[in-house]
């Protein structure tokens, strides 16, 4: 099985594969933030911190224990979720933007902690060996993306997802209707951070070298960019946002040094003309259904 998958992966151009895996990891990270910010309406400015928890947990489990990669991914996700509950419990009981401040501070503290722990090799960072698994890493990324999208699509339409949307629109009204806002917000935060942990673990094994300084404030803003550009709360939007922003440096490459300038201008123009993001308000379920309907009833198109 492992050999067969390896052969399939080898058929794809390594450069294209590199970009596809980057996109995949970007999608997982952005979907996680989408649960917190897009669905529950809580602004987290420390998504990269939870990513770093996943990355370092994954790296250490591989280096010290040689843990099978599938289990490792789950452990990394749960570790990130655990920390998010610890942060979320005191801050999410309050309404307002306290989470933004708390996560911002948490990200900075965590970076300093990682810079001073022996197990994370301080500022020197960790070189991560290849994952313990016969299945190649890109397959794990693909499976994780599919699972992440499916889980989120189901979640959005569930009682849980509707409760989150109610909290996002009006927390007081939601509470009045019997929604336990604190519990739901913490759950959303934990799920989003779980995604970040999984994304971080994949990132660590894919890039093969991690350093606490890689997961700074700018990385969090990068992920937030993907969500906002694509469309808050919309799964197809987030996928598009993650894909575009990950590949942007590649197809703007011909502009050389002016690339980041153009990138900034594009972001400003997009936000001016599409303030809800590229695909703001587009639902995954409706999109799938639309395509499906067209296929079955061509006469109506």
């Amino acid at each position: 099985m492992g050999n067969f998958l390896q052969n399939v992966v080898n058929q794809i151009d390594p450069y294209v594969m590199q970009i596809l895996v980057n996109i995949g990891i970007g999608i997982i990270l952005a979907l996680g933030l989408n649960v917190i910010t897009g669905l529950a309406g809580q602004l987290s400015l420390g998504h990269a911190a939870f990513m770093s928890i996943g990355a370092f947990t994954g790296a250490i489990l591989t280096i010290k224990l040689g843990m099978p990669f599938g289990v490792n991914l789950l452990c990394s996700g749960f570790m990130a979720a655990l920390f998010s509950v610890l942060i979320g419990f005191p801050t999410l009981r309050l309404s307002g933007d306290y989470l933004a401040i708390a996560t911002l501070g948490f990200a900075e503290i965590l970076k300093v902690v990682f810079l001073n722990l022996d197990i994370t090799n301080r500022a020197l960072g960790l070189s991560v060996p290849p994952p313990y698994s016969s299945i190649p890493l890109p397959v794990y990324v693909l499976i994780s993306v599919v699972l992440a999208v499916t889980a989120l699509a189901l979640m959005q339409e569930s009682r849980f997802g509707r409760a989150l949307k109610a909290i996002r629109e009006d927390e007081i009204a939601a509470e009045a209707m019997g929604v336990n806002a604190t519990r739901y917000k913490i759950q959303a935060f934990a799920i989003g951070s779980f995604y970040a942990g999984v994304g971080g673990c994949l990132y660590a094994h894919f890039i093969a070298y991690i350093n606490p300084s890689d997961f700074g404030f700018l990385k969090s803003i990068d992920i937030l960019n993907m969500v906002v550009l694509g469309g808050l709360g919309s799964i197809p939007g987030v996928i598009l946002g993650a894909s575009l922003l990950t590949t942007a440096p590649e197809f703007l490459g011909f502009m050389k040094q002016y690339r980041m300038l153009v990138y900034g201008i594009i972001l400003i123009i997009l936000m001016l003309f599409r303030p809800n993001g590229l695909l703001g308000g587009v639902s995954f379920k409706e999109m799938v259904l639309k395509i499906f309907r067209k296929r079955t009833q061509p006469s109506r198109a």
């Binding site: 450069y15 294209v16 020197l124 093969a208 590649e250």
Partner: protein, 381 residues
């Protein structure tokens, strides 16, 4: 529907640019990739490295190229971003079909690039990475920098025997991987020497106020301060030391070696010392020739350490190609590994069995009258 059209157009654009990379195929050239940042926080290392590489390539090509082929430098800007650097390395290897990659000047990105290069049997010659655990990542990983593990023991011997220093205060910038690594090297090297660390202080890159650390150090009355970080903090540390009336000087690695150290530090930095592997102040004949040529080609700009290392990197590769008589990966790699006493502009370079470079001598520079002046050429044993 409109949205679908927009999406497919965007995807098409992405695909087109990807496809574009595969089009240019020339077999009469040997491609060397430049991995480094041309924009962003670490562009000051990437840009000079590239300039040095380009100069080496044009010189080699003017002299008829290598193995009858011209050398082409393929460049890309990684902005100092690891994810982007990994993509660029992969693109160099699978699209541009480079025979070797020179870079990255920073240790972190070199560590990201190393596994990819090793997997694909492409030589990675870093012109700048000084951190630990780099060449251990593979047989195809080299670097042409002066290593702190080589330079620091030689320097401690020099200070102990020539200046009679017995007590040293160490300052580390603990959010800077270069500084943390260099302090480790220093602490290992000083063991067993007739010199002790009396004070071990921590600062951070970006700090502006060092009064607490200097107060602590002053109480211990050391002979010299060893600072392992970068020049901005270095000059501010010495300003604080002078403010508190301390007479002692500071020394450190090439992280301090920048004109900014002097312009920022002013009088306070006079007498402080840095050690480097390249010194335009007291050039060897090879280096003097390089400096003159570089100045004429670049409107009078004086080349620094990174220009010299980038230049040497391309030269070493070209020389190895000539000896290997082939760019076939295994043969090419062995030829690079056998580089011995290569007279580079940044010092004499020999690759040891573990691919680590041995560079001699170490130049100890002292700041005198607002300029770096050669204090001593410290030989490496």
């Amino acid at each position: 529907m409109k949205k679908l059209i927009i999406i497919s157009l965007l995807l098409g654009l992405v695909m087109m640019t990807w496809a574009g990379y595969g089009l240019s195929k020339e077999s009469d050239t040997l491609k060397i990739g430049f991995l480094g940042a041309l924009t962003g926080d670490v562009a000051m290392y990437g840009q000079p490295t590239l300039a040095g590489m380009k100069m080496a390539a044009s010189e080699i090509n003017q002299a008829g190229g290598v193995l009858g082929k011209k050398i082409v430098i393929v460049e890309a800007d990684n902005r100092g971003d690891k994810q982007e650097a990994a993509t660029i390395v992969q693109r160099f290897i699978s699209r541009d079909k480079v025979i070797a990659i020179v870079g990255d000047p920073t240790t972190g990105i070199t560590k990201v690039a190393a596994p990819i290069c090793e997997r694909n049997k492409v030589i990675l010659l870093s012109a700048g990475a000084t951190g630990t655990g780099v060449v251990e990542l593979g047989k195809y990983i080299f670097r042409d920098t002066l290593l702190d593990t080589v330079a620091v023991p030689a320097l401690i011997d020099y200070f102990v025997s020539n200046a009679g220093f017995k007590k040293v205060a160490v300052i580390t910038s603990d959010n800077n991987d270069y500084s943390v690594g260099l302090t480790q090297v220093f602490k290992n090297a000083i063991k067993g020497k007739d010199c002790t660390i009396v004070s071990d202080e921590k600062v951070k890159d970006g700090d502006k106020d060092f009064s607490a650390q200097i107060t602590n150090i002053k109480a211990k009355n050391p002979d010299i301060i060893f600072f392992s970080g970068y020049y901005t903090e270095g000059s501010l540390i010495m300003k604080e030391a002078r403010k508190q009336g301390m007479k002692i000087n500071m020394f450190g690695g090439d992280g301090l070696y920048s004109p900014t150290l002097i312009s920022l530090g002013g009088q306070a930095i006079e007498g402080s010392m840095v050690y480097v592997g390249f010194s335009p102040e007291q050039p060897t004949p090879e280096t003097a020739k390089f400096i003159e040529k570089y100045k004429t080609a670049n409107k009078g700009v004086i080349p620094g350490l990174f220009e010299a290392q980038g230049y040497d990197a391309v030269r070493i590769l070209a020389e190895a190609l000539q000896r290997a008589k082939s760019s076939q990966p295994a043969k090419f790699r062995d030829a690079v590994a056998k580089t011995k006493d290569y007279k580079g502009v940044s010092g004499t370079i020999t690759f040891q069995a573990n691919q680590e470079p041995l560079k001699s001598p170490v130049y100890l520079l002292e700041i005198k009258n607002g300029q770096f002046a050669l204090k001593a050429k410290v030989p490496v044993k």
